[in-house]
């Protein structure tokens, strides 16, 4: 592994990308700004002195992505084909989450642009809200995904999620077996395998049986989606399910200590 921005003498230099092939590049990044619950309430009601906070921060993030090369010394100027900046008001944790994604067909990656968009959107949120809250804190700015280019695709593992619900780690090629429920009451053990595990960023968890609206696979999916929106992936596309290692469908009943696995279509042989 080498640092591409250093030349053989260890001096900073700009990487010559003229000979690299053009390809579709995409990157997404996220971060958050923590604030007082009162500030978040004012923000969502539009009661802050500087006006529409989110619209302003969105424009700031998009503008920043386009000007990344002016801020980061060795970045190339890029003709971005798409920049999006989105916000999620997280009342539970009293913070605004900021998501940015950038895309282009070109010779260099766009992760710096996505990270810059998130950073500047967060700073703009600070600026717009600082009259009522000076304790705000910007945090966890990181790359989530990156596609295209020689170094290949990257997907951040979700182990640093703010509310960790991971109860076990699965290595590629291995799935732990026979784990007991880690809750006292009647419960169901859920496993996520292969690509689904990577997309969800979780390998297994336990859920109290009484949190299921109905004691079957369909009820389990509903309970998971209620717990965390990313489990909506379980109802999209082709996701297969097995209860106690036998193929199952939504109406398949679930009882105490059952092991339920969700996985993509099989590709062995």
């Amino acid at each position: 592994m080498t640092l591409t921005h250093l030349n053989q003498r260890g001096e900073a230099h700009m990487v010559d990308v003229a000979d690299k092939p053009e390809s579709r590049r995409e990157a997404s990044a996220s971060g958050y700004i923590q604030m007082k619950p009162e500030t978040l309430a004012l923000l969502s009601e539009g009661g802050l002195p500087k006006g529409d906070v989110l619209a302003t921060a969105r424009i700031a993030g998009i503008q920043a992505a386009k000007r990344t090369h002016e801020l980061i010394p060795l970045c190339h100027a890029l003709a971005l084909s798409k920049v999006t900046v989105d916000f999620r008001l997280d009342e539970e944790n009293s913070r605004v989450e900021v998501f940015a994604s950038c895309r282009l067909n070109g010779r260099t990656g766009v992760e710096m642009e996505a990270l810059t968009a998130v950073s500047v959107a967060c700073l703009t949120l600070y600026d717009m809200c600082k009259a009522v809250d000076k304790d705000m804190e910007i945090g966890a700015i990181h790359l989530d995904t990156k596609q295209g280019g020689k170094s290949g695709d990257y997907q951040r593992q979700a182990h640093t999620s703010a509310t960790p619900i991971v109860t076990g780690e699965g290595m590629a090629g291995q799935v732990s077996v026979g784990t007991r429920c880690d809750i006292d009451s009647a419960c169901v053990r859920v496993k996520f395998l292969a690509e689904l595990r990577e997309r969800l960023g979780i390998s297994e968890l336990s859920l109290p049986l009484d949190s299921l609206p109905s004691a079957d696979v369909g009820g389990l999916k509903a309970a998971l989606v209620k717990r965390d929106a990313r489990f909506a992936k379980l109802t999209e596309g082709r996701v297969l399910c097995a209860v106690n290692q036998v193929m199952a469908l939504d109406p398949t009943p679930i009882t105490n200590e059952d092991e339920v696995a969700f996985f993509p279509p099989v590709t062995g042989g």
Binding site: Q174, V175, L193, V266, G268
Partner: protein
């Protein structure tokens, strides 16, 4: 006999063991699947195979039982590897023995078709342009479907 293992296997050795001490077997067919260096993308450098321990063995057992119910077989061996493999490495071995060749050929074909669509294995390919999970193939389901449509013609 069904095995899921990380270690490589020796096709000749497995076939010898299946036939050892038997004189009633008239035909033995074996299929070995190998890692290709191209698939969804060119320049595949390695393959990671993941499975669902417990369910994998049960699913393979059911497939072998299905074959034994359709053809008169005198021995079956299925070995599937998991973990990280390189191009050229053997992934899967199916050896089928019968008194007559037709049953052995067809049962071997049947077991592979069902293995590809029913056994909980997943492949992740590592290529020079990145890693990706292999997508399911429509043709694999068509292949497996053949055994359902001509159900009545098979002895």
């Amino acid at each position: 006999m069904i095995r899921v293992q990380q270690a490589p296997f020796d096709t000749g050795e497995e076939q010898r063991r299946l036939l050892a001490g038997r004189t009633d077997i008239g035909a033995v067919v074996s299929f070995t699947g190998l890692v290709r260096d191209f698939n969804e993308r060119p320049e595949v450098t390695a393959l990671s195979l993941e499975h669902y321990p417990g369910m994998t063995e049960a699913a393979l057992g059911e497939i072998v039982c299905g074959a034994e119910a359709r053809w008169p077989l005198q021995g079956v061996r299925v070995i599937h590897r998991v973990g990280r493999l390189a191009p050229g490495d053997p992934i899967v071995l199916v050896v089928v023995a019968s008194a007559h060749r037709r049953a052995a050929f067809e049962a071997c074909d049947f077991i592979m078709d069902y293995l590809k669509t029913r056994a909980p294995f997943w492949k992740k390919e590592h290529s020079t342009t990145g890693d990706y999970w292999v997508a399911e193939r429509e043709s694999d389901y068509r292949d497996a479907g053949r055994w359902e449509s001509d159900n009545d013609d098979t002895p």
